[in-house]
Subunit: 330 residues, 2 copies
């Protein structure tokens, strides 16, 4: 079985984005005003994610709202909550329509400067009432200005307590960038992955939360490429070896869009810490002229790697079962 | 000949840092109040950079003031100018004492929100009067808050005009981070490299400045690891192939502290765009327990790579001569 742990509903029907526009311009819009039929949902997926699953040979995608549209920086916490509920409810409908193809991962109602305690209730609702199996946690709800404390700060503990209670992992994933310095998928996403991992090196978060689990997307940002730097920095800081300090709790996905990058990832990061993912339909949509294949068809890179079948099985399925422990195939 | 294009005077005598402390606390300190003897300079280098050059077999280092201490965010433009002059003058003295071992690269008197036009005079002084061969350009003088426009914005053109006039390259290098989210050498440095490259993809800077040259340090941040993503993003944006769009003007150094990272760099980036560097004595100071060698002894990784002798010669010397065209070995 091929499990893709990182997909966003980037192709959601236009009515969703129209609703969002209205919400941002007038605050009292109701979720009842959003009307999307099951057929519209089917149509948005059949020609995109489902088609690509069939063509590329993946079976199920852990599916969350469009990351760039979480926009925690827009409006206040109430706006963020209403928007998160609407998006999560839509993901729930997707997964009810296609229970074999999608498993639900939720957006959190974060808001800049607001304690993440405000996320506990929506997270609880998603997991207990609707069967969600994970969440996306934004380390920078300001959208490119990085005003929140590091992920190791007690500021974040309320959401970690709820995650541990529910036994779900978080993918550490920022949203769009309001900062003109940072292109969102080319700089902000990758920087956030690198930044989060370095924050975890500096702290001792997993002493306080030994069962907390994070997935760092986009192949861990710059981390595997600079694995020597990170091992060396940890050593200079008198931290334990990274395998003991972080790798019981931190995982990397395979959203790296060329063979040499995937080969590096597989070489330096233990196979038990890697989860297959493609982020399709996502950041890069074209065909690589050097290979004739889609850049984000990451399954090919794993298939082409020198891993044993048992190792590939871990990356494609086994690790996902372990990390997303609430997930049970339909 | 082995040319290390990236070294900072991290071991400068304590008197320099004491002077800086005084400067920051009272603005009218004179450069005359800084007293460092030639022997103190020799002592600061003999047991550090020079010892490592001998042990590791490099011949010359392109040497600039400590990057983390540029601190463009501290004080105003006048403070930044006085501090830059003091630091650059000290680098000049180092290179006069050891003309075979060091070639000078300068710090610029940038200041947040101040037009980089203010850098032209100090850059001119360093290059024309003191024989400097390059400069470090900070894309984020705010120190981790990224308030300056992207490097492709006309805001930066005055300093590019001066660079082109003088025919010197800039290493795109941030300073310390005031933002608690960003560890300085583990996140801010690497993020800045990635960010700068993505800014260059988005723009068309080298149409306006066909002879401008940038070195992206730390192996290009996350860029080579995500080379497929960057090729794909450029393609989605209808930009030319990266080799035509950027690689006539942009170079990467080899400050990547493990063999698999260097192997990836050498595999995906054309050999003509890679310059040897170690950043010693720098970000990571320890010995890698997996190899028994210093993490930042990057020459070993190049030596151990599968490149031909001619290719290695380009990385160790030939490319540096081309990019730092004002440099002539003593």
């Amino acid at each position: 079985m091929i499990v893709d742990c990182h997909g966003h509903y980037t192709t959601a029907p236009q009515a969703l984005w129209d609703w969002r526009k209205k919400q941002v311009s007038r605050k009292n819009i109701s979720s009842q005003e959003l009307r999307i039929s099951d057929d519209e949902i089917r149509d948005s997926l059949e020609k995109a994610q489902l088609k690509l699953q069939r063509e590329r040979g993946s079976d199920v995608t852990f599916f969350s709202p469009r990351a760039g549209s979480m926009e925690h920086h827009v409006g206040d916490a109430a706006i963020s909550l209403a928007w998160s509920r609407v998006c999560n409810d839509l993901i729930f409908r997707v997964c009810r329509l296609y229970p074999k193809n999608f498993a639900p991962v939720c957006q959190l109602p974060q808001s800049p400067g607001v304690s993440p305690e405000n996320c506990a209730q929506e997270l609880d609702r998603c997991v207990r009432e609707m069967g969600f199996i994970g969440c996306n946690l934004n380390p920078d709800p300001s959208g490119g200005y990085w005003k929140e404390p590091p992920l190791t700060d007690k500021w974040w503990y309320p959401v970690y307590e709820k995650m541990v209670e529910l036994d779900i992992p978080a993918m550490v994933h920022v949203s769009s960038s309001c900062n003109p310095a940072f292109h969102f998928t080319g700089a902000h996403y990758i920087n956030a992955d690198t930044t989060a991992f370095m924050q975890l090196i500096q702290g001792d978060l997993f002493k306080d939360f030994p069962t907390l689990k994070f997935v760092i997307p986009h192949g861990g940002g710059a981390v595997p490429y600079h694995w020597g730097r990170y091992r060396g920095l940890a050593q200079d800081m008198k931290k334990p070896l990274l395998k003991d300090h972080l790798l019981k709790n931190v995982y990397f996905d395979t959203c790296v869009y060329h063979q040499p990058g995937i080969d590096l990832l597989l070489k330096v990061i233990p196979v038990d810490n890697i989860l297959f993912a493609s982020e399709m339909v996502g950041a890069v949509r074209g065909i690589d002229p050097e290979t004739g294949c889609y850049f984000d068809d990451t399954k090919r890179y794993i298939d082409n790697s020198k891993l044993s079948p048992a190792e590939k099985q871990k990356i494609f399925e086994g690790n996902a079962r372990r990390v997303y422990s609430r997930w049970k195939p339909a």
